[in-house]
């Protein structure tokens, strides 16, 4: 490939590349702002509900729900996947 064409590819790559880098990190800025807002809201709510989540041993009720959650989540995923594929 002639050097001129290489350079053209390079310029192309530079424009696209810097474009993507800036787009990516700009979107990340907003994603992080959203995430921080969410996190602060959750922490605030949790602050009033008490520091429930950090108890090392599971309380019966809490976990029973969650076990339902686990099976439910995986079941839902499997059903959805099967319905899409077939």
């Amino acid at each position: 490939m002639p050097i001129e064409d290489l350079l053209l590819s390079g310029v192309n790559l530079m424009l696209l590349g810097m474009g993507i880098v800036f787009t990516f990190l700009l979107v990340l800025v907003f994603a992080m702002k959203g995430m921080s807002k969410l996190a602060m809201a959750v922490m605030e709510r949790q602050g009033t509900v008490s520091t429930h989540a950090s108890t090392p041993v599971l309380s019966g009720q809490d976990s029973a729900t969650m076990r339902g959650d686990l099976v439910a989540v995986i079941s839902a995923a499997i059903n959805q996947y099967r319905s899409i594929r077939h």
């Binding site: 590819s9 993507i20 995923a77 996947y81 594929r85």
Partner: protein
Amino acid sequence: MVEIGLEPLWQSTGLANLEWGQVLMMGVGCALIYLAVVKKFEPLLLLPIGFGAILSNIPLAGIGGSDGLLGLIYSVGIETGVFPLLIFMGVGALTDFGALIAMPWTLLLGAAAQFGIFVTLLGALALNFVPGFDFTLAEASAIAIIGGADGPTAIFLASRLAPDLLGAIAVAAYSYMALVPIIQPPIMRLLTTEAERNVEMQQLRHVNKLEKVLFPFAVLLLCIIFLPSAAPLIGMLTFGNLLRESGVVERLSHAAQNEIINIVTIFLGLAVGSKLSADKFLTIDTLGILTLGAFAFCIGTAAGVIMGKIMHRVTGGKVNPLIGAAGVSAVPMAARVVNKVGLETNHHNFLLMHAMGPNVAGVIGSAVAAGILLAMVGG
């Protein structure tokens, strides 16, 4: 000129290539991480497994493929069986078998709890009557080992008998091990009377150093004579334990208990996660495995408690049948559950040390069961 345009650019994004199955599996990965981080479900394994599931379902990146990082780790460490065996060495180095040596009869509790494995094996085969299921004997055996309540044993056996189910089996095994505090207490309460739960057991006798050194040899000797197919698992477990108890190789014991087991746990988790691909995990089989896993834990617990009741009778009331529930292994969670349920009935009855005996017996028991399945089905 190399063509660098918007069309190939779009084709190189994840958005253009994401399939539904991958999105769902990333969701499963996130759910596992949630359980690990927020609910403290076996986080040492479920967090890496969950993250491995996310990474290996990223389109185009091929991280779980044969040239990808996780694929390479899988083929080096799990296909060969190396990782679960090294974990077993670490478990041996971390475990004090003193409580078991003081009460050798509690080995029978560890034996009884393996009933969960074999009933689940039948259950898995019976599930074939339901349309959509078609488990072979090897697959049914790999699923059944979930009832052993021992992660590395389950991964080792699944990697040998049913690699396609390995992801689901590992997830089920670790999830239910974390769920032991929910699954076991109702069964324990149902099968025992208040009088039985109230039994205070006598204090354990002192175990001397030589007994602890000879113990791994006794276990290994029987394994060699009766069940060589269990020798990789039992061998590494007893080797790790000898490193610990010999007292002359402190450096090696420390390495087995820390560096090696930590490094291998990270890699094992990520590599197991790489098997959570949509086409292998999002099948009706997985639902069957999850159901059978819960079933296995229940049966194992019940069998242990019933054997505890038998020992209660035979010994004239010296044995608290609750400690039978610890026979499923799930060390040390199951022993803690026994302690907790015991304290509910009698505030001064600390069963923790007595439950550690059947608890570590359960580890040996499920390694023995794995050896039997390998010998009978693996050929």
